[in-house]
């Protein structure tokens, strides 16, 4: 076992202001009722900044600004010019990538190697990809003259703050809509830096509005009669409430919700690669991933070998300072999320599953949870049914491919699935039968702006990414 010297990324590259207003109509403004909340660093519990809490009047102001911008500027603008603004944004994100990565890790708790190598590059790529669509919409397969919807209300989660912003804003703007976006209350900082990037790009005022706040702010936004489109990424429970809230309106709705993905390992799989995929599947981003491979299904004949190898690999994972370049697993995003992970893990033990974590020293301050696996899990256990959204893996076994399909699909969710086998025909046979929107075969947790992402069943509807992602923002 190697000893690693600390290799922290410098935080001096970011300049966090003591307080942030709402970004409405191109400028930062104070909320009407003056409320605010604090965003903290989950790795240290240090307060990072005071954030404005948007109320109903602020939401109204933002929606009006977005409407005016849609009617006067962005709607009439040729796609060619909309594209150029999006290209500008993509370039500025690339230019300021170090700053964005550090800020994301500070506010979210994710390891710098992930924000630096995954989140921010994908953000830039997403804007770059959709920029190119802005002047090609008639060729997207939605008819010769597809129209934008108008004002989009977008509510995003805290697990990939800037990446989820990109997934929402880039296609919306490319299609000719204007947006009001509410970032998650625990991770608003990169969205506010993005607002500055919009200013730097000279994006016309009102095209992008960022209203920070918690659930009530989001509700006011989603229920505002002046929005034409609602896009939400988050929990299935809130997604259901939003689906009810837009019932009877003409608001177009897309939802990207929870998951409980099966990661299925067959006896002929290359074990070392599969173990890397299992680790990536559940411990990437502390398991705060809706498509995380949180149910490991191992073919019985290789279960002992896979588990032994997995445990050995888990013992090498480095948990700690998100800004340290050697860190594999960062901080849990909030005290509330840590409490949820603990509660479900305790339920796992109480219901009779066997819990294991590698020896692992956790920092004293901040929110931390050691990588954990449960063996002896049955399909009835809560940890096999409910989304934990943390670094906790439930291990089940199967004997035949048909049994694997049966168990994998035995969930109300249907976001993603993984298959590990050397046999091509079996991959395709399995892929046909898994009821999930994304199937990773001999890989896991791969994302790309050209590749549609989204769920079956209660994991939501609509797709983000690719040509399909435009459909959510066009009147088709």
């Amino acid at each position: 076992m190697f000893e690693y010297a600390p290799a922290p990324e410098s935080r001096s590259v970011v300049d966090i202001k003591p307080a942030y207003g709402l970004f409405v109509d191109g400028t930062f403004v104070d909320p009407v009722d003056g409320g605010s909340f604090k965003s903290i660093n989950p790795a240290s519990e240090e307060v990072l900044a005071e954030i404005a809490e948007g109320g109903a009047q602020d939401v109204d102001r933002a929606v009006r600004a977005a409407r005016t911008a849609y009617e006067k500027v962005w709607g009439p603008m040729p796609g060619r010019d909309r594209a150029k603004y999006l290209f500008r944004i993509a370039r500025i994100i690339q230019e300021r990538s170090r700053e964005l990565a550090v800020l994301e890790s500070l506010d979210n708790g994710k390891p710098i190697k992930e924000s630096r190598d995954v989140d921010i590059p994908l953000v830039a790529a997403h804007f770059f990809y959709y920029a190119g669509w802005a002047d090609k919409l008639p060729y997207a397969g939605f008819g010769p003259d597809p129209k934008p919807l108008g004002v989009a209300a977008q509510v995003i989660p805290w697990n990939f703050p800037l990446l989820m912003l990109a997934w929402k804003i880039a296609p919306a703007l490319a299609a000719g809509n204007t947006v009001v976006l509410k970032p998650a209350e625990t991770t608003p900082l990169t969205a506010l830096l993005f607002a500055e990037i919009c200013q730097q790009a000279d994006l016309p005022a009102g095209v992008v509005n960022i209203v920070t706040g918690a659930g009530e702010t989001g509700r006011a936004l989603v229920e505002h009669p002046g929005v034409d489109k609602v896009a939400f990424t988050g929990s299935t429970e809130v997604g259901r409430a939003i689906a009810r809230a837009v019932a009877g309106t003409r608001k177009k709705l897309t939802l990207e919700l929870g998951g409980k993905a099966a990661n299925i390992v067959f006896d002929d799989a290359p074990i070392d690669q599969a173990v890397e995929g299992i680790v990536n599947g559940i411990f990437f981003n502390q398991g705060h991933v809706c498509c995380a491979g949180s149910r490991l299904l191992i073919q019985e004949s290789v279960a002992d070998r896979v588990l032994e190898s997995l445990k050995r690999r888990m013992a090498q994972l480095r948990v700690g300072d998100p800004l340290d370049k050697n860190t594999d697993i960062g901080a849990i995003n909030s005290a509330a999320q840590l409490a949820r992970i603990r509660e479900l893990s305790d339920a796992g033990s109480a219901e009779g599953a066997e819990r294991w974590s590698p020896p692992c020293e956790l920092p004293e301050r901040g929110f931390w949870f050691a990588p954990t696996i449960f063996t002896g899990v049955t399909q009835a256990h809560r940890i096999a049914r409910e989304e934990i959204f943390g670094p906790v893996l439930s291990v089940l076994t199967f004997r035949t491919p048909a049994e694997a399909v049966e168990k994998a699909n035995n969930t109300p969710y249907g976001l993603s699935a993984g298959i590990w086998t050397d046999k091509g025909s079996r991959i395709l046979w399995m892929a046909d039968r898994l009821r999930a929107g994304v199937v990773w075969a001999n890989t896991f947790n791969k994302f790309d702006p050209t590749s549609p992402f989204g769920g079956y069943k209660e994991s939501g509807y609509g797709r983000e990414g690719g040509r399909h992602g435009l459909e959510a923002y066009l009147n088709v």
Binding site: G437, V439, P452, Y456
Partner: protein
């Protein structure tokens, strides 16, 4: 010689490929016939039949589904006079046949138009393809009774979904006759299930049913009922096709939207390497 007495037809439900009466034993008088008045239990039974049919129908080859649907168009054409006798205008029957043929042809083409390869930035095979969502509940438009019905059933089933349809309450005879067309078209039992009766009775059961994947509210004209059904549909996040506008032109090109709303897109990744 006395004049021959005609044999009258009994108009019943169509569930699982069979023609049962309503389990409630009820009927209602409409278009000069006693038509089965479907109950909530009939709606649930129809969902069970539709679910049982998903595996075979979704698993059939696209070519096979196209063949069967084309066969249905042949049977529909053959009954042209029967529909006219029920009061369906001749041009509507023609349009319904043409619409059915149009959709039948999509079975083995939509995946190429709506799916495809994604050029990801890495050494991966990456393909997106549409798949059926599963069981679809449909509230058919009140009229045109035949063209409207065909225009909501064909796009749902051509891609591999199965349907439970609440038919036009005021003109149900065309629907029951269409069921006879489908029953003689090699369409597996349960792929299409038809419930005659009151929308207000069957639709809420279908909208709230946890084993229904999507709901098409095209035929719902009461805005309050439509909103209520959409709220119920949110319980398991059904895909929702909202009501058609009152001035919808059923003879116009329907586009792909009716098919694509009832589809899921599955994206498969695999590394490339030696």
């Amino acid at each position: 010689m006395s004049e021959r007495v005609a044999v009258r037809k009994t108009y019943k439900l169509f569930i699982g490929g069979k023609f049962p009466r309503s389990e409630s034993g009820r009927s209602y008088l409409v278009q000069d016939a006693n038509v089965s008045l479907a109950s909530r239990k009939d709606a649930r039974d129809a969902v069970v039949a539709a679910r049982a049919a998903v595996k075979g129908w979704a698993g059939a080859t696209a070519y096979n589904r196209g063949q069967i649907l084309y066969r249905a168009a042949e049977m529909l054409e053959g009954r042209r006079e029967q529909f006219v006798a029920l009061g369906v205008p001749g041009d509507e029957v023609d349009a319904a046949v043409d619409r059915w043929v149009w959709y039948a042809g999509w079975s083995d083409k939509l995946a190429q138009v709506y799916g495809g390869a994604n050029p990801v930035a890495g050494p991966y095979f990456n393909l997106s393809a549409p798949e059926p969502t599963g069981v679809v509940a449909v509230v058919a438009p009140e009229r045109p009774a035949l063209l409207g019905l065909v225009s909501v059933i064909a796009p749902a089933i051509v891609t591999g979904n199965t349907v439970v349809v609440a038919t036009s309450p005021t003109e149900p005879l065309a629907a029951v006759t269409l069921a006879e067309v489908l029953a003689t078209s090699d369409l597996p039992g349960g792929v299409v299930n038809l419930l005659t009766g009151r929308i207000t009775e069957t639709a809420p059961t279908l909208a709230a049913h946890m084993d229904v994947n999507a709901i098409d509210l095209t035929g719902v004209t009461d805005a309050e009922l439509a909103a209520d059904l959409e709220v119920k549909a949110a319980a398991n996040l059904k895909r929702v096709l909202r009501p058609a506008p009152a001035d919808h032109d059923w003879f116009a090109d329907p586009g792909l939207g009716r098919m694509t709303t009832l589809l899921e897109t599955k994206t498969v990744w695999h590394p490339k390497g030696v």
